[in-house]
C-alpha cells in the first residue's frame, strides 16, 4: 500500500479552470494566469464536455486573486451563463478591485448562503491561505482568516474579517477584525509595518526604534488598545 503523502515540487500554474464538487453544487475556480481569451475557450470546451454545468446545480465562480476585467464578466454572462441557463449562486475572489466591480453590479459575493437543510452549516468561509508574497499595490479582502505564506510587501494590503497571519515580513497594511469582534489577531514572522489595524483601532506610531521591530510578533486588541508581544517559540 503506497504512502498517502506525496512529495511534489511547487505546482506550476497550469492556467486551467478547475471544477470542484461541493455541498451546494460546483465551484468553478479560475486560475490567476492565462489570458481571458484562453479562459473563455477553455470554458467552451468544459461546457461541451460537462453538461452538468447547465443543469440545476448551483455554481460558485471563484476568481481567486485574479483581476477580472468587466469585459470578461460580460462575456461570461452573455456566452455561458444566460444561454446555458447556468445557476450562479455567487461570485467570489480576493482581488479587491474585482470584488468592487461585482458589488457595484449587485452580484452576490462571498460564500453562498446555504439553504436551510436542518444541519448546522458554516456561515463564514474558512481561512484563505495564500502561498505567495503580496507585492506593492496588491490588495486582498476575505471574510474569514487570512494566512500569507510569504511576505506582505510595503504598499500591499490585507483586509480580513478574522485574523491575519503573515509567515514572512509584514511591511504593508494588515487590517484584521473587520467583523467587529475583538478577539482577532495579527501575527507576523517579522514586523516592519508602519501601520497595523484591528477592528476600528489603527496604530501608526510604529518604527524601527521599537524593540520588537523586525521580530516575530502577535498583536491583539485589549481594552481598546493594540498590544504587541514578541513571539518567542
Amino acid at each position: 500500500m503506497s504512502d498517502p503523502l506525496e512529495y511534489k515540487d511547487a505546482p506550476e500554474l497550469t492556467g486551467e479552470i478547475s471544477l470542484k464538487g461541493t455541498g451546494y453544487g460546483i465551484r468553478m475556480v479560475f486560475p490567476e494566469t492565462g489570458t481571458e481569451e484562453m479562459l473563455l475557450s477553455e470554458l467552451e470546451r468544459l461546457c461541451s464536455e460537462a453538461p452538468v454545468l447547465s443543469g440545476n446545480l448551483g455554481i460558485v465562480m471563484d476568481f481567486q486573486g485574479r483581476r477580472v476585467s468587466r469585459d470578461f464578466i460580460l462575456s461570461l454572462l452573455s456566452r455561458f451563463i444566460w444561454p446555458r441557463k447556468m445557476r450562479v449562486l455567487s461570485w467570489t475572489g480576493y482581488d479587491a478591485e474585482t470584488l468592487e466591480d461585482l458589488r457595484t453590479m449587485g452580484a452576490a459575493t462571498g460564500e453562498p448562503v446555504p439553504e436551510k437543510t436542518g444541519r448546522r452549516e458554516k456561515q463564514t468561509a474558512g481561512a484563505l491561505v495564500l502561498a505567495k508574497s503580496l507585492r506593492s499595490g496588491q490588495r486582498v479582502e476575505h471574510e474569514g482568516d487570512v494566512v500569507v505564506v510569504g511576505h506582505v510587501n510595503d504598499g500591499a494590503e490585507v483586509f480580513a474579517s478574522g485574523s491575519i497571519c503573515v509567515w514572512g515580513r509584514l511591511k504593508g497594511v494588515a487590517h484584521a477584525g473587520l467583523d467587529g469582534h475583538e478577539e482577532h489577531t495579527v501575527i507576523a514572522g517579522a514586523f516592519e509595518a508602519k501601520q497595523v489595524r484591528i477592528g476600528g483601532k489603527v496604530s501608526s506610531a510604529l518604527g524601527s526604534s521599537m524593540e520588537w521591530w523586525g521580530k516575530p510578533v502577535i498583536i491583539t486588541l485589549e481594552n481598546n488598545s493594540l498590544v504587541v508581544r514578541e513571539l518567542k517559540l
Binding site: 490567476e32 494566469t33 492565462g34 489570458t35 483581476r67 508574497s133 507585492r135 506593492s136 499595490g137 496588491q138 511576505h151 510587501n153 510595503d154 504598499g155
Partner: protein, 268 residues
C-alpha cells in the same frame, strides 16, 4: 533564434529606463544582433535624444499604425553602429493615441525584421506602461537602491507578473558604493530580498551618463566608463553568457558584493 521582445520599465520615473534602453541596444547591435529600440513614451519622448538621432526623426510609430507611412520610413538607422535602429514616439500626441491591440500589432511587425525589440516604457502604471508592455514577452525592471524606487518597482513587477511576462529581471542602477558602506543607501541584498526576481545587472553611479545623455552618445560606444562596462555585461547576460558580477570593494578591500556573489553560488 526567435526574436526577443523586451520591455524596459520601472514604475518610478528618472531611474534610468531610457539610459538602459539606449545602452543595451547599442551593445547588442555591436555584438551582431539586429536591434530596434522603440520609444514607447508617447508625448514625452527621450530615446531619440539619448541616442543622438533626434535630427533624423521624420515619422513615428503612430504614423506607421495609422498608415501614414511604411515601417521602414519611420525607422531611423543609426549610422554609427550597424544593425541598430530607432523607432521614435510621437512628441505631439498623447498616450491615448494608441490602444493595446495596436501595440501588439506593432510588435508583430517588428518581430519579422529584428532579433531584439527593446521597448522603452514611460514611467507609471497606467495606459502608457500597459501599452509598452502588452506586446513584450520579457521585462527588464530598472530600480535605484532607494526605498521609493524599490516600492514602485515592486508594484510594476506585480503588474508584469499578472500580465504573464517572463522572465522579469532586475537592473539596479546608480549604486553609490560609499553610501552603501555608510549604510545610507540600500544594498543589493536588501533590494533583492524585497523584489525577489533575478538580478541581471548592477550599474554604478557614473558622471559619464550625464555627459553622454547631453551629447546623444550612448556610453556603450566607448568601453572605459564603469557604467558602460556594466551595460555591456547586461547585454552579454541577456544573450545567455555567464558573466560574473565584478568585485566592487571598499577601501579595506572588503567586497561589497560578496554577499551577492554567495547568493549566486560564486566565490566571494
Amino acid at each position: 533564434m526567435d526574436p526577443r521582445v523586451i520591455v524596459v520599465t520601472s514604475g518610478k520615473g528618472g531611474v534610468g529606463k531610457t539610459t538602459t534602453t539606449s545602452n543595451i541596444s547599442v551593445a547588442l547591435a555591436r555584438a551582431g544582433h539586429k536591434v530596434v529600440a522603440v520609444d514607447a513614451d508617447i508625448g514625452l519622448r527621450n530615446l531619440d535624444v539619448m541616442m543622438g538621432l533626434e535630427n533624423r526623426v521624420v515619422y513615428n510609430f503612430i504614423d506607421v499604425l495609422e498608415g501614414t507611412c511604411r515601417l521602414n520610413q519611420a525607422l531611423v538607422r543609426d549610422k554609427r553602429v550597424d544593425n541598430l535602429f530607432l523607432l521614435p514616439a510621437a512628441q505631439t500626441r498623447t498616450k491615448e493615441s494608441v490602444n493595446s491591440g495596436q501595440m501588439e500589432e506593432l510588435c508583430d511587425m517588428l518581430r519579422k525584421e529584428f532579433d531584439f525589440i527593446i521597448l522603452d516604457s514611460p514611467a507609471g502604471i497606467e495606459g502608457g506602461f500597459r501599452n509598452a508592455a502588452v506586446g513584450a514577452d520579457e521585462a527588464l525592471v530598472i530600480t535605484t537602491p532607494e526605498v521609493p524606487a524599490v516600492r514602485d518597482a515592486d508594484r510594476i513587477i506585480g503588474l508584469l507578473e499578472s500580465m504573464g511576462k517572463a522572465p522579469i529581471r532586475l537592473v539596479i542602477n546608480r549604486l553609490k558604493s560609499r553610501l552603501v558602506r555608510e549604510g545610507e543607501m540600500l544594498d543589493v541584498r536588501d533590494v533583492l530580498d524585497i523584489l525577489a526576481i533575478d538580478l541581471i545587472g548592477i550599474v554604478p553611479e557614473d558622471e559619464s551618463v550625464v555627459k553622454s545623455a547631453n551629447r546623444g552618445e550612448p556610453l556603450t560606444f566607448s568601453d572605459s566608463a564603469p557604467a558602460a562596462q556594466a551595460f555591456q555585461r547586461i547585454a552579454s547576460r541577456l544573450v545567455g553568457e555567464d558573466v560574473p558580477f565584478p568585485v566592487l570593494s571598499d577601501e579595506n578591500g572588503r567586497g561589497i558584493l560578496a554577499g551577492i556573489r554567495k547568493l549566486f553560488g560564486m566565490k566571494g
